[in-house]
């Protein structure tokens, strides 16, 4: 017999989600700040440098004055990695997460940006719920929770294509770079590019989104994919879109790839973009 399951009261999850909704929207991730500072040094466009300096100033004010860095505080995406030796008590997990989102967006003066029905009603739900929740069961006794606030401008510029094996590395590169080019100024460059490769139609989109949860400046542990990340970043930054879309070298701060096995006939690829704010934060309970 193994150890009994660890009990975790879901009220702890509500508290953590509430806190992270607020904190993530006020505090732009360190990885992004470092990348923006580095870009300020390397950007050749005068306008581009001015824009980068202004962005850094905005993010500093947001942090110091406890304000949302961007008015679009997004939909709340919540990723749960639940250890299989954990038992949730005191209520329902999904309810607890939504309650945390409700409290966080209310107490942090964050914008409610969710509508009930996508097509006919489009009535604001008034509390930014429902959250968009993904739960993975993992080994162990910990629960890792990540909150990402996903803004609409960058999300609208996402894309997915079911390539076939012959497309290869070149096909992947062309799709990703074209996707960023077509997005142009809309996703609020400099952007972070999340790329999913492999899996199925549905899985590849989630991979692209999860790639954005990795900090800017980190690399895929697989050397071939890490190399592809670096090459894509270089090629994207040749497009000349630049900060705020007014030209320059800094179109992207980073490219993060996640990959998965796929069918013998398939080579799915998905691109999901984050703006330069890209709020996300994690905690382990």
């Amino acid at each position: 017999m193994g150890k009994p399951a660890k009990e975790l009261d879901v009220s702890e999850i509500t508290k953590a989600v509430r806190r992270m909704c607020i904190s993530a929207n006020y505090n732009v991730p360190d990885g992004s700040i470092q990348a923006l500072k580095k870009a300020l040094e390397t950007e050749e466009s005068g306008v581009g440098r001015e824009v980068l300096a202004r962005i850094l100033e905005n993010h500093r004010i947001a942090r110091e004055e406890c304000l949302a860095a961007c008015q679009d505080t997004g939909v709340a995406m919540v990723f749960v990695e639940a250890g299989q030796d954990v038992r949730f008590v005191g209520g329902e997990l999904y309810d607890a997460i939504n309650e945390g989102v409700r409290q966080g967006y209310r107490d942090g003066y964050l914008r409610n940006s969710v509508v009930t029905d996508p097509l006919f009603e489009r009535v604001n739900t008034g509390d930014n719920t429902p959250a968009f929740i993904y739960v993975d069961i993992v080994p162990g006794r910990d629960v890792k929770i990540t909150v990402a606030a996903k803004g609409g401008g960058a999300e609208n510029m996402s894309g997915l294509r079911m390539l076939t094996p012959a497309a290869g590395v070149e096909g992947i590169k062309q799709f990703v770079v074209e996707q960023v080019a077509n997005a142009g100024p809309n996703p609020c460059p400099p952007v972070v590019v999340g790329v999913g490769i492999g899996g199925t139609f549905d899985r590849v989109a989630v991979l692209a989104k999860k790639a954005l949860l990795r900090s800017v400046g980190s690399h895929n542990p697989h050397p071939m994919y890490a190399k592809l990340e670096a090459e894509l970043l270089e090629e994207i930054n040749k497009l000349g879109i630049g900060p705020q879309g007014f030209g320059g070298r800094t179109t992207a701060l980073g490219v993060n790839i996640e990959f998965a096995p796929c069918h013998i006939a398939s080579l799915p690829v998905a691109v999901n973009l984050n703006c330069h704010v890209g709020p996300h934060e994690s905690v382990i309970l």
């Binding site: 947001a62 961007c70 008015q71 100024p185 809309n186 879309g245 703006c275």
Partner: protein, 195 residues
Amino acid sequence: MDRVIETPLTADDISCLKIGDVVYLKGIIYTSRDMAHMTIKDKLDKGQSLPVDFRGAAVFHAGPVVRKTDTGWKLGVIGPTSSIRMEPYAEMVGELGVKAIIGKGGMHDKSRDAFQRYGQVYLQAAPGCAALLADGIEKIEEVHWFDLGMPEALWVLKAKKFGPLVVAMDSRGNSIYQDIRNKAQETIDLLYRPA
């Protein structure tokens, strides 16, 4: 010296602006995004009146964060949303007499044509810099159509010095975005030209 232009804007205010110029706005600014544009169209179609006069106006594609306090509405943060979603209303907005559109990401050919015919400009506010931009707004005068939700309502803002705003599309048919799109396409053709 920073260049400040004041609403209501005149034809002369607009005609001298060219792409790349940097300006600040003073005076009344109206926010409108997807639902407000839809509502305007709906009211015009039904022959109903609008709550504000758009002649000479600056319209900001934005959904602000606002708090209600004892003394009235208080602005939290505000920043531009993607303007391309309002492209279908280019003609209507021109006819209303709007002189300046503030947003991000620019607009396409329908708007470019309208800008030339109606003498309008497109001004880009720094995207994702909502804390910084809110500084330029003195107060919220009033709100219309609050039932559309806080972001979608038509907010009447009073700006002391709102900006900096970059003239990204002017009234002569020039567009910074088009120039940059063309260059990006050239790069793609170069990088991935089939052998």
